[in-house]
Symmetry: D3
Subunit: 319 residues, 6 copies
């Protein structure tokens, strides 16, 4: 039996943000958090009691330890994290904003410890000692070697019978639609569980039509048993063995717009691991809503709370 | 003539809260406030110029003084507060939240200075030297002796011709509906002014129907000249000598969901003391709105401001 | 060719505020900002790359330097600011609030360095070395000498062929409608660019009707080539050589209700200086929206961001 | 028997400060406290359980209420405070600093509600219903009417047999040594309890020599039974019926340099009221040390803590 | 070979503190940390790379998770922590202070999840799967069952050949010197590594004389191969197989007076585990100094930093 | 006559710091400041009223504008700053600490906009339109092109008759002593005003002996009319035309250990520009002391304050 329930490979970084209404041009203090789409998924799963493992590389410095400290606090196993002396850490800056400005994310992630990681640096045995391996398209965009390790991990996991979860997670600031569409196609085709935003399906592959139609088209592109498609503010669509269903988003007072997609993936995988297929998409939607209602990209919750949101939503005060 | 306009008996405690978007699981600092449903009513009345007195017990410690310091700042007379060496203070934790999670209140109030207070510890002369005595069903739930003192105060006040104001204020975390319904019935029956939430009328006594009907049923259960029934977000219903009226809630940008009911009671009693029966329910609704629009459970306002909200509502900027 | 693109004359002061939900009655710390309607306009223009100059007087003290430091940070030239020893600085207090209370602004601006400034204290050569001179009705209300300097500046600029921009900016806490209407009439009549809120047109001159009608009436009162009329929440109306047009306000999550009118003027003047008459009102509306979405009264932005809001509005996340 | 133990007359104001290391030139938030030398003395006495009353005038505004709220929280009776509409509040700015810069205090206190107060505005009956009346030379410097009321209060108290405590408290920013020396001489001569700093004795009256000699000279100038002279960092000298004694200052880690003199007066008067003449100067020194070790000008303590500092000083950890 | 390097049994709690200069009487926010003498030792050891395990009980609540989250962030294994529904968490309040007041620690730790823990609740196999078991006299004072488990753990470890480290850690607020002396005697006698403060040796067992003499007397009382005695501000004395040596304390700018003793134990055990007996006491002194120079009770450091403090002390700036 | 009094060439960056007692490993918010040794000197001079200009390159981004905003607030002319799209900004991290740990500075400054700047990017006319050009050895260490521009500026200024001020400012984290000694030698030789720390003289050139001797040796190495040598905590030594003098450091309560050397240079150059050679070193020492007593690396002061520190030092309270 596998040591870990879910393992993921990806970059972690530090996130410096200013609250809604402030500008980096005049900032006097940055809020500090951490980020990393795959690690975010693991954090959510850990808070729900699953055993998780993260494969990555960080600088051997106080900033690198800042990332480790927080990930460890969620309960993620960091035995697969390589510590690289004198290396850079991915840093990104967030200027939260309400209308009329968008929340603005700026990356300073060139030449980091992670982007220099090579296949030989990976503890492959640890990577595959898991029920589910979670990978994303974001990582494939970071560097050639990051892409190669992602592909190697994908293929090794398939060979080893590990369930592979793949989130398309396209970022226009990192690469073009054309390149991303080409590079990510094999992952989409062969993942066991596929996550893809409606907008990414449209931008990368030109899928169009209503959501039911787009998720069905995605399902045809992929051999995944389950295809999950989220659409901001309206909820999620699932195509399970070709059958399409829709689960509406929960009403939410947005506190932090980042991390909802990762919360969705964590919520879905949580129910999947439990074998609770009936509530899996609702679990994803509830975790996405929690992500939006909390500061930071990692969802902090409990099984009891998540269950309550699914079975008894809408309470505004509990005392 | 009585020394005090309004006197109340109840527990006071310290309130440790985290803002919307944060979790106690990871809190690095707690906002500190104080709480106590009856003291909240007195604070609102004091800020409107009335002479108020609080009968209670607190530990003789820095935490106990923390409660006293703030209550004194509102102008409440604390001569009736017993200071108990080496005793505990009721503490409660609040995790504010917007949708999808409810704001979560957790109590750590076992075995406090107040719950151990006995009838012999009460300065009864001071308790009755007042125009109005305000009591609540929450206090009756805290301990046997708290319930006995509440009942004794109720009866002594009735005997002495002091007007008795009673707020049902049911808390499901403290006792069952059945017990509460039975214990609180005599207070509901004989109060002079009765406050009861719509939900409490439904949960304790099975009253149902529209709000007009429920307040009328409450009015039949009670000998109170005035029965006030609030319903979250929609306003208040009054049954005055059996005649039912409705006053809509003011539009409000909610900052702190706690304390609205106490604000309502303070606003109503304020107008009642002034003999301004026409504006009494509107005054309650305005104070409830102020409570929701301010941090903390005690309403900070002035007579001028309150009057402005009733006569000239809806302004967004005054300069 | 003029040294400055836009010059303005007016008072600057310090602004002490408490956030939504707090009360000055219990404040433990004040947020510190600066204010001054004309300086606000210059700050917005400076962030868009224009050369600006401010004519004013400040106390020669740490508080006076607090104002200078921040204005200088925007890039405004302060060579025309007189430093007065042992003088007072205009101070104002803001209690932000959502419904049901209005945001409350209180002034402590009697007898300041600025209100004592005389015509002889002004560096007139510097004042007129500009493409546009921006004046407001607020300044005319501060003291007799402030009014006289405003009038002298207005007339000198007209004589010198400098374009005069005038914002009516009536403040009921400073003077009566009748006095203001009488004193401000000549400015309204002869300004080249006139800004006037709908409410001011109604309150000072009894103009009524729908917005199209009121802006047309304003246009008839004035010889200004362009009359701009803003109406809170609904956008702006322009009468250009008598032709009326409407530009709707952008949707905005309000963070700070103060400074929108100044942002509007800055945005309009920015496009005017660029000769971009087609986008001038939209530019004003976008700057007004930015002002509302940021803390503080001065708009912090860039040409790129402003252009994006006009050509590609409505994005909620950029990454 | 008198209603109050100690009554004082003086101005109260708001204090805006920046911490050590920051400059007002660049301040982004002010810490808010309150100040008033006489009120500070009352606050210290109230925390030790004495009944105190403050005679003053404040604007009827949120800022005025800010002062009242805090003074009320200490337990000071504010029935003798006049609320003046549309008046100014004394404001002062503090830039804390360690070496090499001095802590810098700047006043903006012209034309306040208090400085306009007239004898007819005073509730004289309340003023004299006290065991001790505490007055200071600072108040005599604020305005002609403040000086006249101080003198009238002094004389009425003497006539009524109320013990008069007087603190010279010279402020060079308010008036010259010559004027102060002349105006304050009668108070020094006839006070029952006299407080005077070593530096004030030297600057106003040219007294010189070592501390023993200066306090003896002060004692000769005065009919006061007790003359207390404090000298920064070295402690206090008392001349009781002509007998001189010295009490060394307690070692202290200075947190806030302001308020030590008022703490000293409160500590001395506390012991005097208790009739504990042996510990009176030590009590003053301990309260002065507490003032320096706490933020804010009012000493927060208890009788137990004060006693502990006198009988068992020097502990660094209590657990 | 044992799974863990160091295992400890003890209570964990939440710590609410106010900074130097503030008083709980007026606190508006509490800094939140966690505490627990044995867990503190483990945290220090984890940051130096050792594998650690904590045996304890916590409430199954957000507050309980607050403790777990932080301990997990240090890398401590929490598999041996029992989660008890509806239980209390030990809470303690700290008022930091410089002279003249002591830092004041107040406990609210009655009837917690930990004090109710029984021997049958302990995972004994996990407890003994370790190279070193660390126990303290503080835990023995918390409840009868806590004392019994401590004794059982001590004896089982001795039987199993696990090295037992024992820290006397007497707290006068928890029990009398007489009781503590009697109860703790067997632990002192049979520990393998014994930590004892000079003051505790004096207060519990009447040992007196200079430090060399007292540590020698302690060494005679005990069969421990190594006896470590720390004395606040002056350093540590070791008696190793009867040979006494002294290591002076490092100069330190104290930021937080709590946790130095736990830091000392962690530093000593770190070197002991490394077999580096020459630097063991210096390592303890350096960790104690780090504890005093950082906020919070757990030392955050690295092997490199610790080594640098021992080999190249006294640098004030590294750039 | 030159447009600027002092011009400097160097890099600017953002500074993220945690206060004494905190660790980056666990930081939840960074204080944000800016840094740049030459810009620091200009900021100090600007606050004393001199006209200053900075030649540099920054990214055209919000972070780049953060640096500009603050430098502009001091009054430094930024017309010579090149804005580079899509470039990095030098970032550095500071962990303040008291004993036993050093304050730790970590740089992330590879491949920034500044290090890529070429001679052709410099506005040479602007660079030389100044009375004094200030350059440092730190800049020469940043990149080959930075060194080349420094050398070209040095030579052009000498040719143009501009006074050249040079600060050795060796940083061991950037290059070796050997390289630095060789590269910096020509600057040391030919500067008009030379600043060099005692430690740098020792480490780079092996100068030893007491301070009088070392400054004399430096003076022999250099053709500079004035050589200034500072030594941490003890003050400064000057060799003016070969005559050596010593000025002791002012006593200072250190708040921020960074920026003292730049403050010293600013203070010296201030007096030099004024022609006040008698007070020049004392002015440098006073500015260095102010730098240590304030947060941030740029000294905020006024001519009055600086004069007061020189003529009337040692005051602890001014009111």
């Amino acid at each position: 039996m596998a040591t870990y329930d879910v393992t993921a490979f990806g970059e972690g970084g530090i996130r410096l943000s200013v609250p809604v209404g402030d500008r980096i041009d005049r900032v006097s203090s940055f809020e500090v958090g951490i980020a990393g789409t795959e690690a975010n998924v693991l954090a959510g799963l850990s808070s729900l009691g699953w055993s998780t493992s993260w494969i990555s590389a960080l600088p051997d410095s106080a900033l690198g330890r800042r990332v480790e400290t927080q990930l460890r606090s969620y309960g993620i196993d960091l035995g697969g994290v390589r510590r690289v002396p004198a290396a850079r850490l991915g840093t990104y800056y967030v200027e939260y904003s309400g209308a009329p400005r968008p929340t603005q994310v700026t990356f300073d992630r060139a030449d980091t410890a992670f982007t220099r990681m090579q296949s030989a640096d990976v503890d492959w045995e640890r990577m595959l000692d898991t029920r589910v391996l979670h990978l994303t398209g974001l990582t494939a965009a970071l560097s050639d070697s990051a892409m190669e390790i992602t592909a190697e991990a994908f293929n090794r996991a398939k060979d080893a019978g590990v369930t592979v979860s793949f989130d398309v997670n396209y970022r226009k600031n990192l690469w073009s639609c054309e390149t991303a569409a080409r590079v990510l196609h094999p992952f989409i085709e062969d993942a066991d569980i596929l996550f893809c935003r409606y907008d990414d399906a449209r931008d990368l592959y030109g899928l169009h039509g209503d959501s039911d139609s787009v998720v069905a088209q995605l399902s045809e592109m992929s051999n995944a048993g389950t295809v999950l498609m989220s659409r901001s503010g309206t909820g999620a669509w699932a195509a399970v063995d070709g059958v399409v269903g829709h689960t509406p988003a929960l009403p939410v007072d947005i506190v932090d717009r980042l991390g909802a997609g990762d919360g969705f993936a964590a919520g879905y995988l949580h129910a999947w691991l439990d074998g609770d297929h009936d509530n899996a998409v609702a679990s994803g939607c509830a975790m996405a809503a929690l992500a939006l209602a909390q500061y930071g990209e990692q969802v902090v919750t409990t099984r009891d709370e998540l269950r309550g949101l699914i079975t008894d939503p809408g309470r505004s005060l509990s005392r």
